[in-house]
Symmetry: C2
Subunit: 198 residues, 2 copies
DNA sequence: ACCATTTTATGACTTAAATCATATAAAATA
DNA sequence: TATTTTATATGATTTAAGTCATAAAATGGT
């Protein structure tokens, strides 16, 4: 998103997280802008029974957790490192200063938020009213489009576990496994030693 | 969102829609920026079986449908007038010109998108994993916070039909009616001649 | 190389919400 | 005012996805 040298100019500091580390928590006041240098971060919620819902998974060069910064609200979800990750963060004040002095960044932020809102709109409609197979396939297609999944001879390798697909679509693992099996039978995707290709 | 005189300066034109009129359709290329002068607009999708999902309802002074404009994608949902409505619209080109010449508007757009993303995050987690009563109550509380529902002696009047609550939460009318009844019994809200107060 | 954990997998059973049917009240319209 | 349409309401039934149990393969750490 934002060039690292520019972030460093605004007192950007580098932080390292281990897989599973919590970066920030739901309900807490936002204080920084976060951008991924390397690794993988998910934002999630837990419902009253402890079931996880993954709001999104973020990768290299992506930022996450800005909306509450702009609207003075607490975080609506947690941010957790999925793998060991290196992040660069700057304070809220410095972030606004940076924005003020770099009008092109505003447009980048707008585009990024628009992209995320688009994903949420698509998935909201899916989750609320489509059947499991439809939901899973949509998530897969959207992810191929947006994330950099590798194209192999068998097709795009879907780099999600069944559990992650479940947590992203609001389904249980068993349901995802069954949906994927059924989609394979219909020829909509391939399973080659447990890995999913589309 | 954007002052009407400013929109007029950028060739803004006023359009009138009757209740039920389609403003734009899912899958179509976006061409304009839309802002409500008066009336009420919903964005929605229909699933394969024709069930409606309402992405959001928009009121006076609010804009809608910009994200696809910024990311060069087709509309992810339809926009439909819920009541007779008066809108002001400007072309995509003029909108970008306006943004370029008015840097303060960029921040307003960012805040608006952040607010909508926040709503989507909260509702996504609700819809995917909370029970009907929880979902309905969350929608109601969020709507009180964001929309200008009138405060009366009995509490805030929830200006939604049961069907609209269903379409916003991914539930069926009957389920919403039962959830609301149950929430009333628990004292979480009031029903006074069929109207819901919180 | 071994053990613990995670991931994928499948069958049997349960359950919560959807569906279907029907009714009445309220609002809109002719 | 009468009539159609929309919104709220409730009971009975169905069903799709969740839950539970169990297992085997794959992965990761020591």
């Amino acid at each position: 998103m934002i060039a690292i040298p520019l972030l460093e100019k605004y007192n950007g500091i580098i932080k390292n997280y281990q897989s599973g580390d919590i970066i920030f928590e739901e309900g807490k006041q936002p204080t920084h802008y976060y951008q991924i240098i390397s690794g993988e971060v998910k934002m999630n919620n837990y419902n009253d029974e402890g079931k996880e819902f993954i709001q999104g998974i973020f990768y290299k060069n992506q930022c996450f957790g800005e909306p509450p910064l702009f609207i003075d609200q607490v975080y609506p979800a947690n941010a957790v490192a999925v793998t060991d990750s290196e992040l660069i963060i700057i304070t809220k004040d410095k972030f606004f200063e940076l924005l003020k002095n770099n009008s092109d960044i505003s447009l980048a932020i707008i585009k990024n938020l628009s992209q995320r809102l688009y994903y949420k709109s698509v998935m909201a409609a899916e989750i609320s009213s489509q059947d499991p197979e439809h939901r899973v396939l949509r998530l897969i297609d959207y992810s191929i489009e947006q994330l950099n999944f590798k194209k192999e001879e068998a097709g795009f390798l879907i780099n999600f576990t069944r559990q992650q697909i479940g947590d992203l679509t609001g389904l249980r693992v068993e349901t995802v496994i069954r949906a994927i099996k059924s989609l394979e039978k219909k020829g909509d995707l391939k399973i080659i030693n447990r890995k999913v290709y589309r």
